[in-house]
């Protein structure tokens, strides 16, 4: 795909190659781990990490930016791997908190290296590691408390706050014209879409508040992450306004959809229904929890009991109809998801950013596919399923054709306005002409060479004439 700002196909392939090399080195070392002395193990790990970073930087200097990028990704992955393996050499605790601490160390290193090297690809690894670390930390807090189950509702609030944090970082970097600004911007869009996509599944919603929420470490984590996100966003707004880079429409869009997503999360507290099972936590003592079946609040108040909500229309055999309130929240969450998709596509077209348009179109197609599968699973039997698959398949193919046509039109429109050669137009030209664009270029170059040769000939003859005149 032609895209000056985005990753090229070659880069993506090279990054996949880096991931494979990292895994391969890891397994190769692991196979012979016991034969290698501890000090040598550490030297191998750190030198391979340094080697990848040095090679990546050298290739960038010599103009091989894409391969250099993938080697920096390899370096980031090898560094993360090294931290985990060094911890193993010293037999550190393998509890969830122990693993979380290792991920934190790895993330901090990769993040610092990304900024030092000004590497967008390495920054993406750091962003992924940040989300993994935050998720692990959330669950590690529950690991410390035997009588408390994870409240996924709190986790979704943390994830939403991360979306706001990413947007704030995008504003901060764009205010300074830093190249990471567009990286944070794209990932804010991707992140919010992925978040809204997960919330668009009806099976997810009843589980959001299945755990008890009290004043505890996970709640403090929610408060800290939310406060941090708001501070970063506020700072981003101030700096973006000062530098004249504040886009008010964009800000309104992000704020509105963040509020809508928050509404979806909160409204599930009141809409999930009371149906569910109250189970005993301690099998030996056999606490009598079953009497609280279908009484969520009472169950959550019992220390030795935990709550399993009814899986309405679920793939795990739910057999009860969801309450109307859950349907309403589900419809609302899907409307929010669809709204985000359309706004992102609109934003990409308005800002002439093909990468943003492609992102929106991808999630639009994913939404259609997911809802199609969801509906046939929920409402139809096997015979109807087969017929629905065929009819739906035809609709999807036709829909896919027109969606792709629509996408190409939008991308071409965005590119032609920015002065870039439209990818779609190029494709159309190549299809219409028997001679491909590459051949056309060669032909044109040959003509230029012939013209230049003629000019050289005339110049030579002129010089010859002058020489004879002098004589």
């Amino acid at each position: 795909m032609l895209n000056k700002k985005g990753a090229s196909f070659g880069t993506i392939i090279a990054v996949f190659g880096s991931i494979l090399i990292a895994l391969g080195i890891g397994w190769l070392i692991a196979q012979n781990w016991h034969q290698i002395p501890a000090a040598l193990k550490i030297i191998i790990l750190l030198s391979s990490t340094s080697g990848a970073y040095v090679a990546g930087s050298m290739l960038r200097i010599r103009g091989y930016a894409n391969i250099g990028k993938s080697l920096l990704v390899l370096g980031a992955l090898l560094y993360t791997w090294s931290i985990f393996l060094i911890a193993q050499i010293f037999f550190t605790e393998s509890s969830l908190q122990g693993t979380t601490n290792l991920m934190l160390i790895a993330w901090l290193g990769v993040l610092a290296a990304s900024y030092a090297l000004n590497s967008s690809a390495s920054l993406v690894v750091a962003l992924v590691e940040f989300v993994i670390w935050l998720s692990l930390q959330f669950f590690a807090f529950y690991d410390d408390n035997y009588y408390r189950d994870p409240s996924f509702g709190l986790l979704t609030i943390i994830y939403l706050a991360v979306g706001v944090l990413l947007y704030g970082m995008s504003l901060l970097h764009r205010a300074r014209q830093h190249k990471f600004g567009s990286v944070y911007q794209w990932w804010t869009g991707f992140y919010l879409l992925l978040f809204a996509y997960i919330l668009s599944f009806q099976i997810v919603l009843p589980h959001l508040w299945s755990g008890r929420v009290g004043f505890s470490a996970p709640l403090i984590l929610v408060i800290v992450v939310t406060a941090l996100a708001l501070i970063v966003m506020q700072s981003g707004l101030i700096f973006a306004k000062r530098s004249g880079n504040l886009n008010k429409r964009e800000l309104i869009g992000v704020s509105l959809f963040t509020i809508f997503l928050m509404l979806v999360i909160i409204s599930t507290i009141y809409s999930i229904g009371k149906e569910g099972y109250c189970n005993s936590r301690n099998y030996n003592e056999g606490a009598d929890c079953n009497r609280f079946n279908d009484y969520r609040e009472s169950c959550l108040n019992e220390k030795n009991c935990y709550w399993s909500p009814e899986d309405y229309n679920g793939i795990f055999g739910g057999n009860k109809n969801p309450p109307i309130s859950l349907w309403l929240v589900w419809i609302f969450s899907n409307l929010v998801f669809l709204g985000i998709i359309l706004v992102i596509i609109g934003y990409g077209t308005w800002q002439k950013q093909p990468r943003i348009i492609n992102l929106g179109i991808f999630f639009f197609a994913l939404d259609i596919l997911s809802r199609y599968i969801g509906f046939i699973m929920d409402f139809w039997g096997y015979t109807s399923l087969a017929i629905t698959f065929i009819i739906g398949g035809v609709i999807l193919i036709i829909g896919g054709f027109y969606t792709e046509k629509w996408r190409r039109k939008l991308v071409a429109q965005a590119r032609s306005e920015t002065g870039e050669i439209g990818e779609v137009k190029k494709e159309e030209v190549s299809q219409q002409n028997a001679v491909g664009p590459k051949d056309q270029v060669i032909k044109a170059q040959r003509q230029q060479i012939q013209q230049l040769q003629k000019q050289v000939q005339t110049l030579k003859s002129l010089i010859q004439q002058q020489k004879t005149k002098k004589k």
Partner: protein
């Protein structure tokens, strides 16, 4: 900033973090007191870090003072017995002024309130063959009570770990 300066800075940060981390992990091994602790092992697998043995110590199940709750720090004063094994002498929520003591954290489990010391795992590679009974752990404990495993012992001698048919394709 030039690319080479950037590279030096990045490597400085990464190797610096890794160096501090290695020093932190090896500090008790360099400066600590050697103790031998009695164990009761089981045998799981960690998806993140490979094969390891979870070790349950004799001192994991010490009787705790009533004021200690889940998540609290616990200091266990150790004393060497006639059998050369170090046993718990006294348990306290406060750091002892002298003597050899190990720092742990109170954890709630199906066995009730127990103590974890951060040395409950011993890692080895897949296909390892090693004795699982009558094991003791040789550990070093730093002045702050932080412990690190040195090795596994059986009847006072280091155990022999063998690896069966390890090839690149296994």
């Amino acid at each position: 900033m030039k690319e080479l300066t950037r590279l030096m800075l990045a490597l400085g940060i990464l190797l610096g973090i890794a160096g501090v981390f290695i020093l932190y992990l090896s500090w008790p091994l360099l400066t600590g007191t050697t103790v031998i602790l009695k164990t009761q092992p089981v045998d799981p697998f960690d998806i993140f870090r490979g094969q390891y043995m979870t070790i349950n110590y004799e001192i994991s199940n010490v009787e705790l003072p009533e004021e200690i709750k889940e998540g609290d720090n616990v200091y266990v004063l150790l004393k060497e017995g006639d059998d050369k094994i170090w046993h718990a002498e006294r348990v306290s929520p406060n750091k002892p002024d002298n003597g050899v003591f190990i720092k742990g954290t109170a954890r709630q489990s199906w066995r009730g309130l127990t103590v974890e010391y951060g040395i409950e795992q011993y890692f080895f590679e897949r296909n390892a063959e090693l004795p699982l009974r009558d094991l003791d752990v040789k550990a070093k404990i730093g002045s702050s009570g932080q412990a690190r495993i040195v090795g596994l012992l059986q009847y006072g001698k280091p155990i022999n770990i063998t690896y069966r048919d390890v090839t690149l394709t296994s």
